[in-house]
Structure formats: structure tokens, C-alpha cells
């Protein structure tokens, strides 16, 4: 008997995203779709126990859930007269279930990703909705990951689902005209999920790791569904390359370990290999974009067996390209550091000071930390200490605070 439970659970893990996407498409309701899917899985445990597991369990669940949807519509119809007549009719029309079962199991996840990441929904809600619907995370897991009270997150989800219904946000892949823009919105949501999990800020580290894994899984799905897009490939690569360093980037007592000081034998080589392969494939499409440049930079770091072997010249060139396509102070800062490492420290410091002269970066702790770092390398310890102080005053992140304090105490001694 426990075998069937295990089978049902495996089907759930593998197929829930696809199944819910299909149900949402036909019912136009997240709530009903979810209720129907849960009922269908409960029914599967009983039915498969008696009659064996069907050949296509995903299609079986979909068909069973659709029957549930028709039941709900009938129930609602008697309760509220004609309001759900349309839903009922459209369900009945599309419910030639036997025929449905014999057709290939459709994949509606791509349409649903575009719905969940629609710019008409606020960004935080896009993230929550994507994780809840396509990632299969529970509301309480998402709330914990984002350090929010569960009712706040639940409310956010309800509002987003209501907006999708009321404003009729479609379940479809956008037309060619708006596809590039909308696809980059999807990529941004997935990257944000990853960064939330990867960033060193406080929170349950297990949940954070799960967010990274989920972001990678979703990015993988996106690549699988739209295999021709180089930026999606590069996004997946970027996540894999960062994630490969997860065991090396913090010490056992929770201290942040800088890239330079990491034990590279802890890096996950299979993720690095896959990441590099994806970057190469993406760059082969000859349509460079920001994720490809960032992934290429991450690949440069991943390929260096020791910190000293890092190809900083290449990294500096890549940051220069990134800055040309998406200029930002932070990219300029990284470019300056790469120049310091590949040319001379003085030249890097000059670039950093030039950046600082605009004042824009004055309240950014990493600006002061980077400046301090160069001064330390140049042996100008007093000035380095002063810059570390300024960075310290601007940081609230406990892990980064500890890192800066350690650097300062090293200079003091």
C-alpha cells in the first residue's frame, strides 16, 4: 500500500506544475484548480490502490481533476443561479474526458509562467504567485523565505489571483511583438527568487537553499519550454555557477568567505560543467544579453583552479560590455575592481574614486568595502581602515558586518 502513496507523491512532485497549469487554463481560477487537483490526488490514492497505476498518471489526475471542476461548477450553479453558467458550459464542452486522456498530455506551464509574471501584477506578488503555483511551495514556506507573516503573504496571493480574474489577464504566451519584454520580466522574477535565496541576509538557511533550488528548477523549465532563447539558458547557467559555490561561501560559524579565500575543492563541479556548457551554447547564438555577460563572468571565476589563475582581463572586458548595455554604478564598481586586478591597483582605485565623485555610491556599503579592499592591497592601511569604517556604518547585514569587522581587525594587528 505504501508503494501507491510513494507513486502518488512522485507523480505530484513531477507533474503538479503541469497539471495545475492545465486546470487553471480551463477553470480560470487558481482556487478551484488547486482544490480540484488536491481532490484528484486524494482520489488517486484510493483508485490506484484498487485498480493499479494507470499508464499515464499525469493525464489520469488531470481528467479526474476536470471532473471535480465540473462538479464544483454544478454546485456553484445551483447556489448562485446563472453566474457560473459560462464556466460550467465551457467545462462541459471541453470535458470529453476519454478523448482528453488519449491526447498527448499538454503543457500549459509556459502560459502560466507568463500569467504569474505579468507586469500588471505587482512584482512581489509575481514572485509569490510563481513560487506557489509553479514552484509548488506552500504559502507558509514562501512567507518564511521572505520573512513575512503568513497572513500577509496569503493576502498578497489572494489579491493577485483576484486581479488575474477581474482584469482578465490571459493564460497565453505573449505575441511576438511583446514576447522579448515579457520574457525578460519572467527571467527577472526567477532571478529575484534565486537572489533572495542566495543573498547572505538573515533567515532560515534551509528555506533559502530551497529557494535557490526552486529558482534553478523553474529556470530549467523555462529553458526546456523555450529552448531557443540564449538569455534563458544564460540565466540558468548563472544560477548554477553561483549555486556551485554554496558550500564554500560561508564558514561553519556562518562567516562570509570571500571568493578569493574560498576552498575551491568544495565547489560543485557538475553544476560548473553544466553552467559552462550552457554559457557556451548561449553565446553560440550570437545574440548577447546581460545574463550571458554575467554568466560568462561567473564562468571565468568557476574555471580558475586558484584565485591567482582568475582571468581578470577577460572579466574586466565583460564588465565593460555589461556596462555598455546596462549601465549602472554597481557594474562600474565591479569593472573597476576587475581593472585593479588585471592592470594595476592604482588604475582600479582611480576608476573607483572617479565613480565616487558623483556621490551616487556614497551610501552604498560595497563601494566603501571595495575601495578599502584596494587600499589594503596597496598597503595603505590607515586609509583602508577609514573606508572599512564607512562601509561598516552603512551595513545592516549581520554576515557582511562580521566580514568587514574581520578585515578591520586584520589591519589593526
Amino acid at each position: 500500500m505504501h508503494d501507491h502513496h510513494a507513486t502518488v507523491e512522485a507523480v505530484f512532485r513531477a507533474e503538479a506544475g503541469r497539471i495545475i497549469a492545465g486546470l487553471i487554463r480551463v477553470s480560470h481560477s487558481f482556487d478551484l484548480a488547486e482544490e480540484a487537483m488536491q481532490d484528484a490526488f486524494a482520489a488517486a490514492i484510493v483508485s490506484w490502490e484498487a485498480g493499479g497505476v494507470p499508464d499515464n498518471p499525469g493525464a489520469w489526475i488531470t481528467a479526474a481533476a476536470r471532473r471535480k471542476l465540473i462538479d464544483y461548477a454544478r454546485r456553484e450553479q445551483t447556489r448562485r443561479h446563472n453566474e457560473d453558467q459560462l464556466l460550467y458550459e465551457s467545462l462541459c464542452r471541453s470535458s470529453a474526458i476519454d478523448e482528453e486522456m488519449s491526447r498527448p498530455f499538454p503543457d500549459d506551464r509556459l502560459s502560466l509562467i507568463f500569467t504569474c509574471c505579468h507586469p500588471a501584477i505587482n512584482m512581489q506578488a509575481q514572485v509569490a504567485l510563481t513560487l506557489r503555483t509553479l514552484g509548488g511551495l506552500t504559502t507558509s514556506e514562501i512567507a518564511r523565505a521572505f520573512l513575512l507573516p503568513e497572513p500577509t503573504l496569503a493576502q498578497r496571493l489572494v489579491r493577485a489571483q483576484r486581479k488575474i480574474q477581474q482584469a482578465r489577464i490571459p493564460y497565453q504566451v505573449p505575441d511576438a511583438g511583446s514576447l522579448p519584454e515579457r520574457l525578460s520580466a519572467v527571467q527577472a522574477v526567477l532571478y529575484l527568487i534565486f537572489n533572495e535565496g542566495y543573498s547572505a541576509s538573515s533567515g532560515d538557511s534551509l528555506v533559502r537553499r530551497e529557494l535557490c533550488a526552486e529558482a534553478i528548477r523553474l529556470a530549467r523549465t523555462l529553458v526546456e519550454l523555450m529552448p531557443e532563447n540564449p538569455e534563458s539558458m544564460a540565466l540558468l547557467a548563472l544560477m548554477l555557477l553561483h549555486d556551485s559555490r554554496r558550500d564554500a561561501r560561508s564558514s561553519e560559524d556562518g562567516q562570509l568567505v570571500a571568493l578569493e579565500e574560498q576552498d575551491r575543492s568544495l565547489w560543485h563541479q557538475e553544476q560548473i560543467a553544466e553552467g559552462i556548457h550552457l554559457v557556451e551554447r548561449a553565446l553560440g547564438r550570437r545574440s548577447v544579453g546581460p545574463y550571458q555577460l554575467q554568466a560568462a563572468i561567473a564562468a571565468c571565476h568557476a574555471e580558475a583552479r586558484t584565485a591567482g589563475e582568475t582571468d581578470w582581463k577577460q572579466i574586466a572586458a565583460l564588465y565593460a560590455l555589461l556596462n555598455a548595455s546596462q549601465p549602472s554604478a554597481i557594474v562600474s564598481l565591479n569593472h573597476a575592481v576587475a581593472v585593479a586586478m588585471s592592470e594595476t591597483l592604482e588604475r582600479g582605485l582611480a576608476l573607483i574614486d572617479e565613480l565616487g565623485s558623483s556621490g551616487e555610491l556614497d551610501s552604498y556599503h560595497l563601494y566603501h568595502a571595495a575601495r578599502a579592499d584596494l587600499l589594503r592591497r596597496m598597503g595603505r592601511h590607515r586609509e583602508a581602515l577609514a573606508s572599512y569604517h564607512r562601509g561598516l556604518a552603512l551595513t545592516t547585514n549581520a554576515v557582511e558586518l562580521r566580514y568587514l569587522r574581520r578585515r578591520m581587525s586584520e589591519l589593526d594587528s
Binding site: N82, Q85, H118, Q166, A167, R168, P170, P174, D175, S178
Partner: protein, 117 residues
């Protein structure tokens, strides 16, 4: 589903007749295109908010005040009602509707109309 497109613009007396002419011609073209696609239901421009009067019921009494309900930089300047398949189609139409007035940018708020069956 019918969507109402609310046009918010900065009221600008400095707009020249020529500029107003360009805006009017663009509106006309959008309305014609919407008619050709069978989505057009209605569209009208509004007089400036200086012509607005706001009526409130306060403590059971009618209170009439001069001006719009909120003094904001951008004011409701007109509306369209278009019957679209979904929000994406509505947003594509909204993009075409001019909102700027004499160089000052404006925006369109797209709201689904609540339908009672």
C-alpha cells in the same frame, strides 16, 4: 470584456493649437482603428478639471464643492471604452492612445468594467 481606459494628463494651457491638432488627429485615428477591429464602444474628451464640480453626502447633507475630487498634477482628461478579449489586448490599445499634452507626459489607467449578467 469591456475595459475603460482613463486618460490622465497634465492640464496645460500652453499647448498650441497645432499641438492640440496633432493629439486630436491621433485620437481620431485610434478610434477609427478600434472601430475597424470591432472593439470600439465609446470615447470622449472631458473639459478641464477647472470645470469640475464635486458632490458629496456628508452627515446626510449634500455638500457641493468647486473643482475635481482630488487636486493632483495629472487630471482625468477623457476616456475610451473598448471591448477586448483580455488584458493584453486592452493594454495594446492603451499604448496607442495619446496622453501627452504639450510635452508633459500623462498615463492611461486600464480598468475592467464590472459586468452584471
Amino acid at each position: 470584456m469591456r475595459y475603460m481606459m482613463l486618460i490622465y494628463s497634465q492640464e496645460n494651457e500652453a499647448a498650441t493649437a497645432e499641438e492640440m491638432g496633432v493629439v486630436a488627429a491621433t485620437h481620431k485615428a485610434v478610434m477609427e482603428e478600434a472601430r475597424d477591429h470591432g472593439v470600439f464602444r465609446a470615447a470622449d474628451p472631458l473639459e478641464d478639471s477647472s470645470a469640475a464640480t464635486t458632490v458629496r453626502i456628508q452627515n446626510g447633507r449634500v455638500l457641493v464643492t468647486d473643482g475635481p475630487f482630488a487636486e493632483t498634477k495629472e487630471q482625468l482628461a477623457g476616456y475610451y471604452i473598448l471591448d477586448c478579449q483580455d488584458l493584453d489586448e486592452a493594454l495594446a490599445w492603451a499604448e496607442k492612445i495619446p496622453t501627452a499634452c504639450a510635452g508633459a507626459p500623462g498615463c492611461i489607467e486600464v480598468r475592467p468594467i464590472r459586468e452584471f449578467l
